[in-house]
């Protein structure tokens, strides 16, 4: 099974921290990692990050985190960045943004800003939209770990349990990522799957959320961005030489 962590918060300013995170990920059994690229970062920095991940024998995935304040801002961001990144995630800060992100086919991942129930918008209506558009629900497990440390986890478990049950019933793919900024918040994929037991998720579902679902998103987007892609289901197999 190929395990993927689509949200590794490697620092773009501190290459040593990025190196430590990447080598820990590789040691724990991940094969592919997605690192959010801050807007306005040069190609050189991306190349350097790719090199660090290659040194750790990891497949590097470029990702952009859009945090729009309105649906219009989201559409502008998608127009600008969709073709430049392999994974596009949207931080849903309001219901209007969440609904727009849920129905847009260009969005890969739906994320929430916090675990505060008032600031999470993944409900049945959102799941119905996402099930048609193909967007996945992303949950950062390092964020869960830090929240467990800080406060009572009753509300957190209730909320996540409800969201995951909704996603399951509507067939919305779920992606578990680490979202780790510190190697000590990284866990083996099997340990993250064990943590998902707290949200009433069985081991098979959790392992799919750490492997098949994120890997599928990356593969689909790489195919779409390939120069051989023509249309859905149509791909250039061979180029003929000019006569």
């Amino acid at each position: 099974m190929k395990f993927v962590d689509l949200h590794l918060c490697a620092s773009w300013k501190d290459s040593e921290q990025a190196r430590r995170l990447m080598s820990k990920s590789a040691e724990l059994g991940y094969k592919q990692v997605g690192v959010p690229v801050p807007q306005g970062f040069a190609d050189e920095a991306v190349k350097q990050m790719r090199q660090i991940s290659e040194e750790a024998e990891l497949d590097f995935v470029t990702r952009v985190d859009l945090a729009p304040r309105s649906p219009g801002e989201l559409l502008a961001g998608l127009r600008k960045f969709r073709r430049s990144f392999e994974v596009v995630s949207v931080l849903c800060s309001s219901k209007a943004v969440a609904r727009q992100a849920g129905k847009d086919r260009r969005v890969d991942l739906l994320c929430s800003v916090s675990f505060d129930p008032k600031r999470r918008f993944f409900d049945r209506a959102e799941a119905e939209l996402a099930s048609v558009s193909g967007a996945a629900l992303e949950i950062d497990l390092a964020q869960v770990l830090t929240n467990l440390e800080e406060r009572s986890s009753v509300g957190l478990f209730t909320r996540l349990r409800r969201e995951l049950a909704t996603a399951k019933s509507f067939g919305v793919p779920v992606v578990f990522s680490s979202g780790a900024i510190n190697p000590l918040l990284l866990r083996k994929p099997q340990d993250y799957a064990a943590l998902a037991y707290l949200f009433d998720v069985d081991a098979g579902f959790a392992l799919d959320a750490l492997s098949k679902n994120p890997a599928g998103i990356v593969e689909r987007n790489r195919q779409l961005q390939s120069p051989d892609y023509v249309a859905p289901g149509v791909r250039l197999v061979r180029r003929m030489r000019k006569l």
């Binding site: 724990l28 770990l145 830090t146 467990l148 440390e149 986890s153 510190n182 190697p183 000590l184 918040l185 990284l186 866990r187 083996k188 099997q190 340990d191 993250y192 064990a194 943590l195 037991y197 707290l198 081991a203």
Partner: protein, 104 residues
Amino acid sequence: MTRLVRRRYLALKIDCEEPVEPKAVSDAVWNAFLRLFGEVGASQAGLYLVGFDKEKKSGVLRCGHGALPMVRAAIASITRIDDKPAAVHVLRVSGTIKALNRKL
């Protein structure tokens, strides 16, 4: 003769920059389990730290077969040991210590 309680042995590896004591590891596992599953759950889990190597920062934890998913969840949720930032990774799970040593 069949045993009344089927057991599971977990090989653990502690990720911490500072040295850790076996008692602190045991306390961290117990506290995480109690916080998540309460005293009734903990009483049914049969948690016991069988051995711990301070130099390698690795050890073997015993629990009941039925409590394994809960124990793994509790172990994954540990972020501090003795108030120092730490992570606990499960290397292997086995039904006997002998098989666990063979797998490692």
